[in-house]
């Protein structure tokens, strides 16, 4: 497989996709976009069985960065599997894969080590199951990966914008006769990208222009 041109900007998001986690997932997607990266995740493919796994592995191969929340003990165990694939790709992949980087999120501090003790020594970022804190964790981690000339707003501003997006989401969906509760990953991106472009980004002048 050839390395995509967007490899350095692709961020693989590995987290639960259930209703309870949805506000956190959408906050992570939103923050990744505002930080000028491309959110990728397993929801891009909804096929069953081994074909789906192959597609997930292909997505992981295309992503330099990974955000993994393995702290939620869900009925399914896809998150530790996808983290393992990501770490394995970094270890055994091609030369550029050795530079893959990932962060491990956890809802409560030390909650991941309970059942993934092999990850001891890894730096975790706890977000206390709160949206503003997960935005802060992701923002601070990604802000470190971009050029110093790139302006990334701080977390409080991003939290305000994300709340505004969440408020607008039902109205945006109503126009398309979509349901905010049933939005697919692609539909979410189709709304969040122009929304960020039109509202967050366009409503201020980049200080780097000064």
């Amino acid at each position: 497989m050839t390395t995509p041109a967007t490899y350095e900007q692709n961020v693989f998001i590995n987290c639960p996709f259930d209703e309870k986690y949805k506000p956190l997932f959408q906050a992570i997607v939103f923050t990744v976009q505002v930080c000028r990266f491309i959110p990728r995740c397993a929801l891009e493919t909804m096929d069953a069985s081994h074909i789906r796994l192959e597609k997930i592995m292909a997505i992981i191969e295309e992503c330099k960065y990974g955000i993994h929340d393995i702290s939620v003990k869900a009925a399914r165990h896809n998150m530790p599997l996808e983290l393992g694939i990501f770490v394995g790709c970094r270890q055994y992949g091609k030369a550029h894969h050795r530079l893959k980087q990932y962060m491990v999120l956890e809802g409560k501090k030390h909650s991941s080590k309970v059942y993934l003790s092999d990850l001891s020594g890894q730096d975790y970022m706890a977000y206390n199951n709160k949206v503003p804190e997960v935005i802060g964790c992701v923002r601070n981690w990604l802000a470190d990966k971009v050029s110093e000339t790139v302006f990334i707003p701080h977390a409080p501003f991003l939290c305000t914008e994300y709340e505004a997006f969440r408020r607008d989401l039902p109205g945006l969906c109503a126009i398309r006769k979509w349901s905010a509760e049933s939005l697919s990953f692609k539909e979410l991106l189709s709304l969040s990208t122009p929304w960020i472009n039109a509202r967050t980004e366009l409503s201020r002048i980049d200080p780097s222009q000064d």
């Binding site: 995509p4 041109a5 967007t6 900007q9 976009q33 000028r36 990266f37 491309i38 959110p39 990728r40 891009e44 302006f151 607008d168 109205g171 945006l172 969906c173 126009i175 398309r176 990953f185 692609k186 539909e187 991106l189 189709s190 709304l191 990208t193 122009p194 929304w195 960020i196 472009n197 039109a198 509202r199 980004e201 366009l202 409503s203 002048i205 980049d206 780097s208 222009q209």
Partner: protein, 80 residues
């Protein structure tokens, strides 16, 4: 390009999911879209550029999303 003395009242950026340019009036909040892939003439470009689109988004979905955002935000702007 706006000079130091100019007051910027409109600014534009490219929507990476559709390739269209979106212009926003900073005073009224009104948004316009240009669908030919070329930027609005005489309107400063925001240097904050979003990353390229996720290639998993099909053009039809991207187009529908963009239309919804513009219609919704313009409706909000009119209500203010």
């Amino acid at each position: 390009m706006a000079g130091e003395q100019d007051v910027v009242i409109e600014i534009q950026a490219r929507n990476p999911t559709t390739g269209h340019y979106i212009k926003r009036n900073l005073q009224t909040g009104r948004i316009e879209v240009k669908t030919d892939g070329k930027p609005f003439k005489g309107v400063p470009m925001n240097r904050i550029v979003l990353a390229p689109a996720n290639s998993a988004i099909d053009p039809e979905t991207a187009q529908r999303g963009e239309e919804a955002v513009i219609e919704y935000l313009n409706k909000k702007a009119r209500q203010k």
